[in-house]
């Protein structure tokens, strides 16, 4: 498969891992944060931790939009699904995320009209096909998915489709990184920068991390070789005492970002004064809401949303895991009360959440040297 297999080439991966071991100073400890949940998933899925020196920790950041969504917002969204005339639509990512009265899938099992869509424009199509129903799209995601929501709303207005609305939960990545860096117990040496978000916002918005916070950041792709190469680039910067924004993911990320996408977002969205993040609390100017000029398609304005607030159980230590103070398995609830099937904390909710990824791919793992035996016969 082109553009995938090249970045999973075993020989190149082994060589890059050797380079990491050569560059890493055995006398110190390294703590790199991968901001994006997609990276967390790749790191576990490809077993990349096994290739890194033992004095290097990868800390899983806040970039899983499902994980950071407070349960109250899910309840708010699902309250609309209970209306008999509403078709509730969302990405597959949302379907198993629990609200206080169940997940969207459980609502569906109880007979409510809940459907998975692949993009917001599919939800709009559904609205066109069901003129006697109201189709509500539960929008989540960082700047990666916000432009497609914006374009869909622009299309809904242009085509005069009035039985469609968006419950907007889009968040922005920079304030979340800032909140983590501002935290007094923060212990990160450098950042593996988000790849998908950067295809939209470009690399410029990260400049302050290098200049003000003295931390290197490398915008990174999602294949094993991308992530390892990015670690090489971070180690080289640290070794040379440099602090720069670098772009490892040049095949997808233009330095200036995607102007058309940014323009669509600016047309439809404005910043909320503040928004609650699961595990991190309230962060100012960290989320998007729909502008007044698109009020007719804004589910929050159109329906009365209860505005539910649900606090996470105190015992869940999601915040500490997000900031790199604790590893997933060090949380008191990990693997006991809190599992992917019955998540208590935010990071267990999505398969991109660090606790769920750790539980699914790493938990119970032993180092097993059996490959040679397998290959003898194969």
């Amino acid at each position: 498969m082109r553009f995938v297999d090249e970045f999973r080439e075993p020989e190149l991966i082994t060589r890059t891992a050797d380079e990491i071991r050569r560059l890493a100073n055995p006398a110190r400890h390294y703590r790199f944060m991968e901001v994006c949940g997609g990276h967390t998933h790749s790191i576990y899925r490809f077993g990349l931790k096994d290739l890194l020196p033992s004095n290097m920790d990868l800390v899983h950041g806040p970039g899983c939009p499902v994980c950071v969504l407070p349960m109250g917002r899910i309840d708010d969204g699902l309250s609309m699904a209970e209306r008999p005339d509403v078709i509730f639509t969302a990405f597959g990512d949302m379907m198993r995320v629990p609200g206080t009265k169940g997940s969207p899938l459980e609502y569906k099992a109880r007979g409510m009209d809940v459907r998975i869509v692949y993009s917001p424009s599919d939800a709009l199509k559904l609205a066109r096909a069901n003129p006697d129903k109201h189709v509500m799209f539960f929008a989540i995601g960082f700047e990666t998915t916000a432009p497609s929501t914006a374009l869909t709303l622009m299309r809904a207005r242009a085509q005069g489709i009035h039985n469609f609305s968006v419950f907007c939960n889009h968040v922005t990545i920079i304030p979340a990184i800032r909140a983590i860096l501002d935290s007094p117990d923060m212990r990160i040496d450098a950042f593996i920068g988000p790849g998908h978000v950067s295809t939209v916002i470009g690399c410029r918005p990260y400049a302050w991390i290098a200049s003000n916070e003295d931390k290197p950041i490398v915008v990174t792709g999602f294949e094993p070789l991308d992530i390892l190469q990015s670690i090489v680039m971070l180690l080289r910067q640290l070794k040379g005492k440099e602090k720069r924004v670098e772009n490892q993911y040049k095949r997808a990320v233009p330095w200036e970002g995607n102007r058309a996408a940014l323009k669509a977002m600016a047309e439809v969205f404005e910043l909320r004064p503040y928004f609650e993040w699961r595990g991190l609390g309230f962060i100012s100017q960290s989320a998007l809401r729909i502008r007044e000029s698109y009020a007719e398609w804004d589910a929050e304005r159109r329906f009365s949303v209860p505005g539910v607030r649900v606090t996470d159980p105190k015992a869940a230590q999601c915040g500490e895991v997000l900031k790199g103070v604790l590893k997933p398995a060090q949380c008191k609830l990990f693997g006991k009360e809190c599992t992917p099937e019955h998540p208590v904390g935010a990071l267990m909710v999505s398969s991109e959440g660090s606790c769920a990824a750790y539980y699914n791919f790493e938990h119970r793992k032993r180092v097993v040297q059996i490959r040679p035996a397998v290959q003898e016969v194969a």
Partner: protein, 346 residues
Amino acid sequence: MTSVVSKIRFRDPQVEMAHGAGGKASRRLIDGLFAPLLFGSVPVPLGDAAHVNVNGTCVAITTDSFVVSPLRFPGGSIGELAVNGTVNDLAVSGARAQALVVSYVLEAGLPTEILEAEVRAMADAARAAGVIIAGGDTKVVEHGKADRMYITTSGIGQLIPGLSISPAAVRSGDKILLSGPIGDHGITILLARGDLDLEADLCSDTRSVLPLVEALAEAVGAGVHWMRDPTRGGVATTLNELAHDCGLGVVLAEDLIPVRDQVRGACELLGLDPLHIANEGQFLAVVAAEQAETALDALRKTPGGQDAALIGEIGEQPAGSVLVTTLYGGSRMVDMLVGDPLPRIC
């Protein structure tokens, strides 16, 4: 009576879709509710078919219900699945299907041409698999009370001589064989539903695996320790059940598992793992290490078995779990599927 009731551990307040998806929730329902009430205190290994002694002759018996949507998809249809699914459940339990009985649940308003097409598909599939359909039953429910048609088939089979299959027969060092590429059926269905604006040149793999099972039995006989067809929940779920049942570890080599590019591509795009995707015409076999090569050879020489592969082995560790290793030395645990595989977008 009370001793049986006390073993009910199923505490979920209502039935969810996940309970039928073949993964963890299904297992919880079977182990926690069905098994203690229906099978009593005698622990029964939950294979694809039960072996029952009738007047001194051991026969295999199984049943399966089919509720697929859409009814027709590239490479097959619900009628074909209903025959092959039960033939295969018998085959991987070490039995040759002799006869099937069929139950139809039909929704009032179902066009006759759709019903006729599926009955024809069943007749063709039965002929191809060498099994007779000996009887059946039909129920019709009100319009809106079912999704067009559901089919249940039950089958009885004669044990293939020389085979003795059970998780308890599995030993550390045994090799794991797979009959062909995985994920074709599940991805075909996902795309055929048409919700995803994705297209791929791909067909369901539905077929009878009996010829392959018989080739294996003939080649290595008692060297086959265990077989299953990885349907719902995919290879990952089936092998996790094996690991759980035999208490040993399953270690797979990712690069040796055959997956078509179309399936890999769709899985990459949708954030799915091919190991969790359903198959309808493949099976897994655990064979004694010293006979693995002979077994693989026999599979590859049988029509439809040319893509068979050795994909891993049984070890002491990680006990009760499945580990996937990569060519460059990384590894990851692979768990059972929780619910249905859902596409990840953001």
